[in-house]
Symmetry: C2
């Protein structure tokens, strides 16, 4: 086990409080005064999570939207955010992007901290939400016989990243300004057996959902809506699209638009099958957080 893996395992052990479902599950669930609160904290680091020279308005948008996406996967309604911000270049653009994204989602900035630093910048955001439905959806409830569904296409963020990286004129909005599917998450929460947002790639996130639920998941690659059919497998491995991935009992009706892309089966040889091929190891399936 690497030192980093040992550290994360140690954190997970510390987070053994019943309120702390799992450090990997992106969100903590806290019962307070008859309400169920959902809490999530993510960091963006220059050079790791965004390109040096990136538009800081986009960085602010992404910092907020990715945390709100964690709330969306829990069917939560956001109550506010706290910002931890390392001061630096183009903070006026950061502020403008922050104002835009908070107005778009009608979420208040509750407070936070600004610090000085040298070297690559780090930005942290904590989002607090209120569950609109309990029990709150987790990754671990998928049942044999459920269908596997996704709210929309994957791969748009990949194309957007490439457009930015290569300086082409193609649209990079899907990468720069991802959307948190809050309304969809709230509509789905009462129906799903398991739900998560696709942040690290469809294959890797489906693998994790299967592992957490103790099931196997069979995905039909042709059924997955993708941004570029000529690069279907790339689209399935790329992250950053923030679609909601969920499992649904058979014959359950949906009030929102979504696509069935696979089936939940009893746990077999591998957690994940792609067109019948077993995928045993998470390595290489998508983006692994470092």
């Amino acid at each position: 086990m690497s030192r980093e893996a040992a550290f994360i395992a140690g954190l997970r052990q510390l987070a053994s409080h019943p309120a702390a479902r799992n450090l990997d599950d992106d969100c903590a669930v806290l019962e307070v005064g008859g309400e169920t609160l959902i809490l999530t904290h993510d960091m963006l680091v220059e050079g790791t999570h965004y390109l040096p020279g990136a538009d800081m308005a986009d960085v602010a948008w992404k910092l907020v939207a990715t945390n709100l996406s964690d709330l969306a996967a829990k069917g939560a309604e956001p109550l506010g955010v706290l910002l931890g911000h390392m001061l630096g270049d183009n903070d006026a653009a950061f502020l403008a992007g922050l104002a835009e994204v908070l107005a778009h989602y009608n979420v208040p900035l509750l407070g936070g901290d600004t610090v000085s630093g040298t070297g690559p910048r780090a930005h942290g955001l904590t989002a607090i939400g209120r569950a609109t439905y309990t029990p709150v959806p987790t990754r671990s409830g998928a049942q044999n016989g459920d269908g596997l569904w996704i709210t929309g296409p994957v791969g748009d963020a990949m194309l957007g990243f490439e457009a930015l990286r290569d300086g082409t004129s193609a649209d990079h909005t899907a990468y720069s300004r991802p959307m948190a599917l809050l309304a969809q998450g709230q509509a789905l929460a009462p129906l799903v057996t398991a739900m998560m947002d696709v942040s690290d790639g469809l294959l890797l996130d489906a693998f994790r959902l299967a592992e957490a639920s103790g099931v196997s998941i069979a995905i039909e690659s042709e059924a997955v809506p993708v941004a570029d059919v000529a690069r279907r497998l790339d689209c399935l491995r790329w992250g950053d699209d923030y679609q909601l991935l969920f499992t649904l009992p058979p014959r359950c009706r949906l009030a929102i638009s979504a696509t069935r892309i696979g089936t939940v089966e009893a746990r077999g040889f591998a957690p994940l099958f792609l067109d019948g091929e077993p995928l045993v190891n998470a390595e290489g399936l998508g983006f692994q957080h470092g």
Copy 2:
């Protein structure tokens, strides 16, 4: 106005939601399901907030304790923390210090995020607490005629910092492992007219309390308990002691140990008077966050 000041002013304007009392007031107050939640987020950056080569167990302790101190100043009982952690050297020591401080305060780790990064490290912590008394104490309630009080001496952290910096054998616990005065904060919350923790130096923090309350505060320097009487003024200017500073109506009885160090007066020529001398400008009074 500097670019940094403009950014912070912009953040403050964004944080105009009634739940967001003030980015400077360290904490946000959020009413949820009949409970009053207190939320705070602070960052520690290597080179800015701790010396490179510092014991990472102490860094973890301080990260948690300083955020819990913000809760203490609100009379809140902690419900949990979320950690944003940039991975790096001596993470095993960080984890050990984190386990120690969470056990000491009996506070659960609810979740968080670990990220890779290069260059100086940044660590963020969000602490969530439940108000034990409402209205929650603020900085802005000090009244003409109140006494100004402090829970204990200032300057111990300064001596600890110097011991560490100079490599002497003197005790540096007060600097490395500050205490969050949670029990004192809860005992004081129903009694005080204003309260805050002394994180940036007694003079600077008293100046801020006076400004927020629209009063003048007169401090008698001889009355202030200090760690080193030969360096009384240094002790009054140094931060990091995390004592609670509060104002109390006359003839109010205290169930905890504290020292009266001054008087609240109607707003006069300056927000702060030290032994009768007016202090008009916050610059140079203590540690200003960058």
